[in-house]
Each structure stands twice: as structure tokens, then as C-alpha cells.
């Protein structure tokens, strides 16, 4: 791996990420967004988070795990209930990981 290759990548992605993180805040008020876009922003957090969670639980590393044998899926569903009733990050993580380890120990994958 050459220096110019590595640093080239670091510089390009750093600048691109900084641009994406700042652009819409800095351009706010200077450009007028269509109403649809403005209303759509309400759904950004839920949609992006679900798009991160679904493959991580159902197909980690790109491979589908059979549903009934998927310890992550069952642990994720129970921890989802915990998150719904308690809105507590700590309890959600605790229940999720303990159940996950228990299911692995019982032979799920």
C-alpha cells in the first residue's frame, strides 16, 4: 500500500464527508427546498437507522442467517420490546446482549 494511495483516500473522503455534513446547514435559507423534501426530512432518522439495522441483524457480513436459527434476530426483537417500554439505552443493550449470549450458548447461530 503506497503512501500516495492511502493519503489520497484519506484526503478525498475527509473533504467529502465534511462537505456532506455541513452543506445543507450552511446553504439553509439560501436555497428553497421543495415542500416534499422538507416534509420528508421527518423520516430520515427512522429510515436510515432501519436501513442500518436490518442487514446487520438478518444478514451479517452479507450472508443470510436462517430466521429460526438467528440468535441476533430473536435477541433484537426482545430488546426492541425493552426499548419500546423503557426507552432506556442501557437496559436495551443489557437485555439484548445477555439474551444473545444465552441463545448462542443454547446452540443457535
Amino acid at each position: 500500500m503506497s503512501d500516495s494511495y492511502l493519503w489520497g483516500i484519506i484526503v478525498v473522503v475527509t473533504l467529502a464527508n465534511f462537505f456532506m455534513r455541513t452543506v445543507f446547514v450552511e446553504a439553509y435559507g439560501k436555497i428553497k427546498y421543495p415542500l416534499l423534501v422538507e416534509r420528508g426530512l421527518r423520516y430520515v432518522p427512522a429510515a436510515v437507522l432501519a436501513a442500518i439495522i436490518a442487514p446487520a441483524v438478518l444478514a451479517p457480513s452479507g450472508q443470510w442467517v436462517p430466521l429460526l436459527d438467528n440468535a441476533m434476530l430473536w435477541a433484537a426483537m426482545v430488546s426492541g420490546l425493552v426499548a419500546w417500554y423503557f426507552s432506556s439505552i442501557f437496559r436495551t443493550l443489557l437485555v439484548g446482549i445477555l439474551l444473545y449470549w444465552a441463545l448462542l450458548w443454547l446452540g443457535m447461530s
Binding site: 483516500i9 456532506m20 455534513r21 455541513t22 435559507g29 429510515a47 436490518a54 426492541g80
Partner: protein, 235 residues
């Protein structure tokens, strides 16, 4: 939603939320540190990449592609596509943080993450006093930054001493579940999340991680459609 009496109070509330999440953040960062170390990157390179990208999923993808010797263009494209969601985050935050002076706003936006954004946007959207909501947002941002770089350094120095039999990878989706579920306050939001998840799964085979981008956009659109047909009532 919690109530805070002052900006400082809210700041520490944000810090506490991130500390509760650190079992998800630390192993993720540590794994990246280990991987980069094993690719013979030195500490300066590891830190520059981690601070510059400041995006775990994109960094993992880049390291993987770099190890395979992928073209520079392909590595950059993949990382940028994975980070497109930051553009969405920035657009959603835009109306709420205009009163923060630019000199503070830019570093704060540089430090935008899934955790800090998704924890903080709820406060802004539900009408918390801006000064208090800013305090919370700044608290989460500072805490993620410190925890994340600490984790990278930990991985880069400890190396392969971290056992993978602990299956720590599951902490990452768990962390996001703990943010997502309380967020689903009405039917349109539930539909947005379901459609986003399903479309992302259908797009698993797509190159450059495009499935995530496609899934997110379909989810947002599905949320809008549901809202249009009267689905904004409580679940």
C-alpha cells in the same frame, strides 16, 4: 423525552446517553484500530483516517477494499456513498441550529454521527428550547468523539488481544435499536422504518453499499405516502 433545567444539565444528559452506548461504540472502534494496525498502518495514519472519515462503517469498508487493493476511485466512492446519510442528517438539522455561530457550528457538524444526530434530532423536532437542545447535541457529539478515538487507539495499541468470541458485533445493531424504537411515534414513521429495512435487504447484492441509500430513500418516500393518506395518527 427527559427534561433538563439548563444547557449544562442537558450537555451532561447527552454525555450520559453516549456512555450508556459505549459498549456498542468501543468494540466497533477497537476492531477498526486492530484491522488498521494489522494492515501495517502507523499511528499517525490510523488517527488521520479515523479523525478525517469520522465514520466507522465507511472506514471498515475502505480498509477492506484497500486490503484487496481496490482502485482509489472505488475506495473513495464506496466510502462517500456509505456517508451520504450525513447529507440527510445535515438537511434535517439545518433549520434547528442556525443560531449557533458558524465558528462553533462547523466543528459540531464535522463531529456529526449516527448516535449524536439520532439522539438529538428528537429534541429539536419535539420543540425543546433550542439552547437546551443544543446543550444535549453538543454533549453527545463531544462524548462520541472522545469515546470513538479512545476506542481506535485502544485497538491500535492492544492489537489482536480483543477476543472475537465475545461477538461484540451485535452491540452495533443493538445500539441503533435502542435509538430507533422509541422514535416510532406514529404509523408513518413505522412504515418508513419497515420499508427502509426491507428495501435495504433486497438490495444486499448491490455494489458500493447502495442498498442502504436506496432503502433510506424508499423508506422516506413510504413515510410521506403514509402521512398523505392519513397515517400520522398515533400507533
Amino acid at each position: 423525552m427527559k427534561h433538563y433545567h439548563s444547557q449544562q444539565d442537558a450537555f451532561w444528559g447527552g454525555v450520559k446517553a453516549i456512555i450508556a452506548m459505549s459498549p456498542g461504540i468501543v468494540p466497533f472502534g477497537a476492531i477498526i484500530g486492530v484491522t488498521a494496525k494489522n494492515m501495517d498502518m502507523n499511528l499517525l495514519e490510523i488517527l488521520a483516517m479515523s479523525m478525517g472519515y469520522y465514520a466507522g462503517a465507511a472506514q471498515v469498508a475502505s480498509l477492506q477494499l484497500m486490503a484487496e487493493g481496490a482502485l482509489l476511485v472505488v475506495v473513495c466512492m464506496t466510502a462517500i456513498l456509505i456517508c451520504l446519510r450525513f447529507g440527510l442528517y445535515s438537511a434535517a438539522l439545518a433549520p434547528h441550529i442556525q443560531d449557533i455561530p458558524r465558528i462553533k457550528r462547523l466543528p459540531l457538524l464535522y463531529a456529526l454521527t449516527d448516535q449524536s444526530f439520532n439522539l438529538s434530532i428528537v429534541n429539536y423536532q419535539s420543540g425543546m428550547a433550542p439552547a437546551i437542545a443544543h446543550g444535549y447535541f453538543i454533549g453527545t457529539s463531544v462524548a462520541v468523539w472522545l469515546v470513538w478515538l479512545f476506542a481506535i487507539l485502544l485497538g491500535a495499541t492492544l492489537g489482536a488481544a480483543i477476543p472475537d468470541t465475545w461477538s461484540l458485533a451485535f452491540f452495533i445493531p443493538l445500539m441503533f435499536i435502542s435509538i430507533l424504537i422509541p422514535m416510532l411515534r406514529d404509523r408513518a414513521l413505522v412504515v418508513a422504518a419497515l420499508v427502509a429495512g426491507i428495501v435495504t435487504l433486497m438490495g444486499l447484492g448491490l455494489p458500493f453499499n447502495l442498498g442502504l441509500v436506496l432503502g433510506a430513500f424508499c423508506g422516506i418516500f413510504a413515510g410521506l405516502l403514509t402521512e398523505h393518506f392519513g397515517g400520522k395518527a398515533d400507533v
